[in-house]
């Protein structure tokens, strides 16, 4: 993965010194709260319901073992000994003291980490597919492009005060979209044109929140070299013309919709025509330099361990289930992609203790070349595990709580921190996730139900991506009481769809029953090969309505 050079180190150190100065001026009363607000947000610091919250960037989800160990130490020294993996491949600390944050950032900078632009009305962490570089069907490894975007967007002087936050995601697989690019402000799908040249299909104006939208395509093919100049043109049009009078209408999706995607694209093209041949046009050398950091690890030349695994599966049912659900095919023979689930029932989805962070670091060193990837589903991936060591790995992770073989099932819930932690939330989300996990605790039944994305957000801001859950849950406040609205049929994949609201909302204690009824309808109506989403798309929302509100 990317390693800092002297330029990156210098910029990171200068950033820490700057924020230390800003924090001192804020604590001395020289900066009004509203003046300090965007400065601290762009360094990841929120002031939350119970305490400050620090969101640490994990660029495109990649972490080294040493970085995990440093995070563990930071949670011990400055927090309460645990951290939270977010739905945008970042890590959050829930209890740091404001005056400690400059020291925390200095500790992070030592291991080439930061909290830059993890919040605020600026360009946020660029996210991608957690299987980048190890899956067989990708056009090219998207991570070098994410790093190129990270560098371009870091402290961009023109775009530090956009109308609203701005999120970019890149996907490289032709068949799957694990990065949910069509619900981002900019979604970049890597493609090759007829001449075999590498480029991007550009979606602009997708997003969740109050006005969920699937991002329309504004350019079918953007050549690789033009990536940054084109992004700059999109951002400039947005910075100049995005609405600033109403926070809820300030995202780029509102501008794209108001102008129409065609007219928006024309504006971007007109702007781009002035800057496309500027020195910001990428050079082959520059791309190759970054690609040089994302080369293959030192794979051994081994065959697939098909027979061994078959024997081990036969002898151990738990291992068999885990292999079927949490282990994916690797592009290299003899290797496998393993997803550690951070979804043990009774633990808030995505939460890990300091000890668990260290355990993950040890697992990475022992089994996967010292690196892990964080997923937007709040799990952790060991991307390069030898097949003949899978059993050993599984035996190690079950007692650690990472071996729940529920990946992509109903209980692999995406869930924001909700009203337990977040000042914005209208309702708690974690207890709803837990109640549903407890209700559906029979793994065989979960496997029979197949892949179902259940996404829970505690408010309209949609950090839990509820609009694109096959089953989406949104916490709402009704006269001071917490209720939950359900939507069905959402998808964040290539067939991106915004879910449809089922009807009036429910009390929290009713949620497990309501979800059970929805599942019953699916089980009644499905044909043999249909997923939940397939059945929903065929039969529509009415049968679900009838059952739930009967």
């Amino acid at each position: 993965m990317y390693v800092y050079d002297e330029h990156d180190r210098q910029i990171a150190a200068e950033r820490v010194a700057q924020f230390r100065d800003q924090t001192e001026r804020a604590l001395a009363g020289e900066l009004a709260e509203e003046e300090f607000l965007p400065l601290r947000l762009q360094n990841g610091l929120y002031v939350q319901r119970l305490a400050p919250m620090l969101r640490i960037a994990v660029p495109y989800g990649m972490l080294r073992a040493g970085q995990l160990r440093r995070l563990a130490r930071i949670t011990r020294d400055y927090d309460k000994g645990y951290a939270h993996f977010t739905t945008r491949q970042n890590v959050q600390l829930n209890w740091p003291a404001i005056e400690d944050v400059p020291d925390i950032l200095a500790e992070l900078a030592e291991v080439e980490m930061h909290a830059n632009q993890t919040s605020g009305n600026c360009i946020r962490n660029t996210t991608t597919d957690q299987f980048s570089g190890v899956q067989s069907d990708e056009i090219a490894d998207p991570r070098p492009y994410c790093e190129i975007i990270r560098q371009w967007s870091t402290f961009h002087p023109e775009f530090a005060f956009l109308p609203r936050k701005f999120k970019v995601a890149v996907n490289a697989s032709e068949k799957t979209d694990r990065a949910a690019i069509q619900v981002h402000d900019i979604g970049l799908q890597m493609v090759r044109n007829d001449a075999g040249e590498l480029g991007f299909r550009v979606h602009v104006g997708g997003g969740l929140g109050r006005t969920p939208m699937v991002g329309p395509v504004i350019r079918d093919f953007l050549p690789e070299a033009d990536l940054l100049t084109y992004l700059e043109a999109v951002l400039r049009v947005y910075n100049r013309y995005g609405r600033r009078d109403n926070k809820f209408k300030a995202r780029i999706k509102i501008l794209v919709k108001a102008l129409t995607p065609e007219a928006f694209a024309e504006k971007v093209e007109a702007e781009w025509s002035h800057i496309k041949d500027s020195p910001s046009r990428l050079t082959r050398d520059a791309v190759e330099r970054i690609q040089g950091y994302f080369t293959e690890p030192d794979y051994q030349s081994v065959d697939n361990a098909t027979e061994l695994l078959a024997k081990q599966r036969f002898e151990n049912r738990g291992f068999d289930q885990w292999l079927s659900h949490n282990v994916d095919t690797h592009k290299k023979p003899g290797y496998a992609i393993v997803t550690l689930t951070m979804k043990e029932t009774g633990t808030p989805p995505g939460d890990v203790t300091d000890r668990q962070l260290e355990q993950i670091a040890d697992l990475a060193d022992e089994f996967s070349f010292g690196e892990v990837r964080v997923t937007h589903q709040q799990n952790v991936v060991l991307a390069d595990v030898r097949q003949d060591r899978l059993l050993e790995l599984w035996q190690a992770i079950v007692p650690m709580g990472f071996g729940t073989a529920n990946l992509n099932t109903l209980t692999d819930v995406i869930c924001c921190p909700g009203g337990d932690f977040c000042a914005l939330a209208n309702a708690k989300s974690i207890p709803v996730a837990e109640a549903i996990q407890r209700r559906f605790d029979d793994l065989d039944y979960l496997y029979d139900l197949g892949n179902i994305d259940l996404n829970i957000s505690g408010c309209m801001n949609a950090c839990g991506h509820h609009h694109v859950g096959n089953i989406g849950v949104l916490g709402v406040d009704k006269k001071g009481e917490e209720f939950y609205q359900i939507s069905l049929g959402g998808s964040s994949h290539h067939d991106a769809t915004i879910g449809k609201i089922l009807g009036p909302s429910f009390a929290r204690e009713d949620m497990p029953d309501v979800v059970a009824k929805i599942i019953d309808v699916y089980v009644d109506k499905r044909t043999e090969e249909e997923t939940f989403l397939d059945t929903y798309r065929r039969v529509g929302i009415d049968p679900f309505k009838e059952r739930v509100y009967a």
Binding site: T154, P157, R289
Partner: protein, 168 residues
């Protein structure tokens, strides 16, 4: 007489004053003794009268389109861009367009809600004079202009992004 900060953080005083947009039905009130920055569209409306004067410049508000003065920028001794609120980032794009697209070379001044922590961004986008909001400590400007020794991306201050500088 405003205190004006230069790009290097030094402080000087000058007599450029900002003439606000007149209320509906009123006319522009340009003081006699002082150099005046007037709303850009009104300068254009009185072009015959104002052009060639070294004591009259213009200011753009954040929602203005600088394109309105295309071809005339070099006639202006000073252009100011107003930040009605520091969190309104449109002025940065206006500045870059003036410098990089329209080739404006004379003084470009940031006015309005100009705070210390935004100076570095303004500098990179081509502003070379800053009138800090009155309650802010002008002596800290030099430090705030220079927190960073370099940036990753090209802007007005350098057209070479770091990836090109790394290669050389």
């Amino acid at each position: 007489m405003p205190d004006v900060i230069s790009q290097d953080g030094s402080i000087r005083q000058d007599d450029w004053i900002v003439v606000p947009r007149p209320a509906e039905g009123e006319s522009l009130d340009i003081p006699e003794q002082s150099k005046a920055l007037i709303p850009a569209d009104l300068w254009l409306a009185g072009y015959e009268h104002f052009t060639g004067r070294d004591d009259i410049g213009v200011w753009f508000d954040s929602h203005d389109e600088p394109e309105m003065l295309v071809g005339k920028f070099q006639e202006l001794p000073v252009i100011a861009v107003n930040f009605p609120k520091f969190s309104d980032g449109r002025g940065y794009s206006i500045a870059r367009l003036l410098r990089e697209r329209f080739g404006y070379e004379n003084e470009l001044r940031a006015i309005g809600d100009v705070l210390l922590d935004q100076l570095q961004f303004m500098k990179r986008c081509g502003f070379d004079a800053y009138v800090l909001r009155a309650d802010k400590d002008i002596n800290k400007a030099a430090r705030c202009l220079n927190f960073f020794s370099q940036g990753y991306q090209a802007a007005t201050d350098t057209d070479l992004p770091l990836f090109r500088r790394r290669a050389s």
